[in-house]
């Protein structure tokens, strides 16, 4: 490690434990996020089985609470965020013509912090009870009426959140500082733009939940009084802190997907994205407004009519930039040569589904009406339409689109279409009836219901739909297995792409670009194609490329915090100190030992093999 010539070839495991290559870290994020996605999905399925008939006894109330909490927590923090980071890692540096991210070491640290945080949250299953106070974990439920599980939630999310925060900083610095010559801000692909705004949201939103979780942990571990009303505390502070993070979080999730949809629809319509600059404007505006609306989650807390009205109006304003995006996608398709590949099916399926979720969002934004909808299945239906029908559809679109670039193999299109239709129909079967269940008075988070209240049929349909989504997901797993058994021979540009990532081989060599490309317009590769050029014009002569060395320190640092969290939970101060010292020592080592990196000669064939 740390010599100026190419390092020894490492074993598979050590390679991935020590990698600082954004493409491999992207794969790590995808695999870890995918496993958590399956766990969260399993939890959802178990809940739907419990709710298939009234008075069911498949799960008891306590277990249902754990399932419900872990489903939400896992899906938001441990599945959705990392899969977004997987695509950002795999694609953003390629789209801006960079050889790596700004901080490769920090990138690796971000992944391992997320991973060990996620494992910690899930440790509750084996160590005396999972978190069971909902993914929001409001006090006093989470302080006075919940068991040990909440400690796993608070400390696990704290560690995972740190990883996400430094990941966000990394992508901001990368996009600002590492763009290829000619890649001005207004020539950046939409996915890069969306990742940029999302990273800014991460930077300014995550510290709020850091504080919220710190206060919660202090109350639980050290008997502080933030939320203890008897000693002067105030629980509403937690709700504010949680949603000051929590609402930007939903835009953190959806904005990169807006970027993916823009890329996919533009590529498969063979047209420049309609209204590119208005798309950029809308993305930034959504990011900005996302910070102004958090209290619409708290209309029934009793903030008063003025606050409720202001937050309601601000919320409705977000429909404007979102509407701009929807129309831009439609106009991009208008008159285009549309190809219904699997990726494009997901993207086209996304549009009406997301619009439904957006419409119910505007309904919920009216405070007076929200008093009726609050804490019912109407809310459950709404946020699953935007998060599953919006984000997960978009992630599938992105995965089918970029799979060849990430793994060097094309996913099977026939299986892909089965995957889409099972998931799409299953999704609508699951969540469309929940709107009506909610309006008929079914509360969210209940573990069972009584017969003959008009809720039986809707719940039955909903559970059947959940099985449809499960089958769709299983077909996706089969597709991955089938694809992996085929040789690695995806072409560099399988979709007739428009952006820089399609100018280099699939998967790219470890240094990405042999020569940094000169960018001459929006849709950089398409500009060259239209000019009759074979690929990009280089902006620099061929030469040795400097690469950073891999390091095991990020892994050990994350293990240190993992150990420290256990020490805090079990009130073993010595263990907590040892864990913290491991992390601090790794930081010291990183500071003391300068990494000279090594050089790759891109003209030598062996240099291409990473």
């Amino acid at each position: 490690m740390g010599h100026s010539h190419a390092p020894k070839k490492k074993g598979f495991l050590m390679d991935y434990l020590t990698t600082v290559d954004h493409k491999k870290i992207g794969i790590l994020y995808f695999v870890a996020g995918g496993i958590f996605f399956l766990m969260g999905g399993l939890e959802a399925l178990l809940m739907r089985i419990q709710l298939i008939v009234p008075n069911n006894t498949f799960l008891n109330g306590a277990t249902f609470n754990e399932m419900m909490t872990m489903h939400g927590t896992t899906m938001i923090f441990l599945a959705a965020m990392p899969i977004i980071f997987a695509l950002m890692n795999a694609i953003v540096p390629l789209q801006i013509g960079a050889r790596d991210v700004a901080f490769p070491f920090v990138n690796s640290l971000g992944f391992w912090l997320f991973f060990f945080g996620g494992v910690l949250v899930n440790c509750g299953w084996f160590l005396g009870g999972s978190p069971d106070a909902g993914w929001t974990s409001y006090p006093p439920l989470s302080t006075s009426f919940s068991g040990f599980g909440i400690d796993f939630y608070a400390l696990g999310l704290q560690i995972a959140g740190l990883g996400t925060l430094i990941g966000g900083i990394n992508f901001l610095a990368t996009i600002i500082n590492m763009r290829a010559p000619g890649m001005t801000f207004m020539r950046m692909p939409m996915f890069t733009w969306a990742s940029f705004v999302t990273s800014a949201l991460i930077l300014f939103a995550f510290p709020a939940i850091t504080v919220g979780l710190v206060l919660l942990s202090f109350d639980r571990l050290f008997s502080a009084n933030f939320f203890n009303v008897a000693n002067g505390g105030n629980e509403v502070i937690y709700q504010h802190l949680f949603w000051i993070f929590g609402h930007p979080e939903v835009y953190i999730l959806i904005l990169p997907v807006f970027g993916i949809i823009s890329e996919v629809i533009s590529t498969f319509s063979k047209k420049r994205l309609f209204g590119y600059s208005s798309m950029v404007f809308a993305t930034v505006l959504i990011g900005f407004l996302g910070f102004m609306v958090w209290a619409h989650h708290m209309f029934t807390v009793g903030m008063g009519p003025v606050a409720n009205a202001l937050f309601g109006i601000a919320t409705m304003l977000i429909a404007i930039p979102t509407g701009i995006k929807i129309f831009n996608w439609l106009f991009t398709m208008w008159g285009g040569q549309i190809r219904f590949t699997t990726a494009n099916l997901w993207a086209v399926g996304f549009i009406p589904t997301f619009v439904i979720g957006g419409m119910t969002g505007v309904m919920l934004a009216a405070p007076a009406a929200d008093y009726q909808y609050h804490d019912t299945y109407f809310v459950v239906a709404h946020f699953h339409y935007v998060i599953v029908g919006g984000m997960v559809f978009g992630l599938f679109a992105g995965l089918y689109y970029w799979w060849p670039k990430m793994f060097g193999r094309m996913l099977n299109e026939a299986l892909g279409k089965w995957n889409f239709w099972f998931f799409f129909i299953g999704f609508h079967l699951t969540f469309f009836p929940q709107h009506f269940l909610g309006l008929m008075g079914m509360q969210r988070r209940i573990f069972t219901f009584l017969p003959n209240q008009g809720l039986d049929f809707g719940n039955m349909i909903s559970t059947i739909g959940a099985f449809g989504m499960t089958i769709g997901t299983i077909i996706f797993l089969i597709n991955i297995a089938v694809t992996n058994s085929k040789p690695k021979k995806a072409p560099a540009d399988p979709w007739d792409g428009r952006t820089l990532e399609w100018a280099i081989p699939s998967p790219p060599p470890e240094y990405n670009f042999k020569q940094t490309p000169q960018v001459r317009g929006y849709d950089a590769l398409w500009v060259e194609k239209m000019a009759g050029n074979k690929g990009m014009t280089p902006a620099e002569p061929l030469g040795h490329i400097h690469m950073p060395s891999g390091s095991i320190l990020p892994f050990i640092m994350s293990v240190g915090l993992f150990i420290a969290a256990f020490g805090l939970m079990y009130e073993k101060v010595s263990v907590a100190i040892i864990g913290a010292l491991i992390t601090l020592l790794c930081m010291l080592l990183r500071s003391l030992i300068d990494d000279p990196g090594y050089h790759v000669d891109p003209t030598e064939d062996k240099g291409v093999e990473a």
Partner: protein, 206 residues
């Protein structure tokens, strides 16, 4: 050190910004400080919401001793000045002068931290603790977070000083000193707000 003298003459005017790595580091650190603003903003908001909930225990008016806090403020703000002096010395490529200013910065920071520890132990004796009231929880969390930042900054500074002799001033080490001074300024800036919101407003009881 002597081996580096030749290098010093070759160092560019602002060695911390000479390489892309250096520029990345500085930009990334500014962004990090943006996140830190939200962190302390949230802690301040919590403190303001809970500052008059002393739960029958001692209040700010009774507890705070302004001469002590003023002394701590003077120490910390002066250390901000000396950290600027160290960066000015760095720009003049005068390593020994830079080290002297950094050592003074560390001593002032240690003095501040000592006063804070003394202050906290006094308060605990007077019945004002993390568990005594919501005011106590909010006070120790906000001021303690700041104190932890100072303590971490000191550890960081010691690690930097320990390697200065061996590594000298290069385009690799220059961003580290620069970024540290950014951090130190930020920590001082937070203290200005703590001094105002916690101590001054707490002492006059508004």
């Amino acid at each position: 050190m002597s081996a580096n003298h030749a290098l010093h003459t070759e160092l560019p005017a602002e060695p911390e910004k000479a390489t892309l790595e250096g520029r990345n580091k500085i930009l990334g650190f500014w962004l990090f400080l943006g996140g830190e603003c939200v962190l302390f903003g949230s802690l301040f908001a919590t403190f303001i919401a809970l500052r008059d909930k002393a739960n029958g225990g001692p209040t700010g008016v009774e507890l705070f001793s302004l001469p002590l806090v003023a002394l701590a403020t003077i120490l910390l703000l002066t250390s901000s000045l000396t950290s600027v002096m160290s960066i000015l010395a760095m720009h003049k490529k005068n390593v020994s002068q830079m080290v002297v200013w950094l050592v003074i910065t560390a001593l002032l920071g240690l003095g501040f931290l000592g006063l804070e520890i003394y202050e906290f132990t006094e308060y605990v004796h007077e019945g004002h603790s993390l568990t005594s009231s919501a005011f106590g929880s909010a006070f120790y969390t906000l001021v303690g977070f700041h104190g932890a930042h100072v303590a971490f900054g000191l550890l960081w500074l010691f690690a930097l000083l320990a390697t200065t002799g061996k590594k000298g001033l290069t385009v690799v080490t220059a961003p580290k000193y620069f970024v540290f001074s950014l951090y130190w300024h930020f920590v001082d800036l937070v203290w200005v707000f703590i001094f105002t919101v916690v101590y001054l407003m707490g002492k006059v009881g508004i």
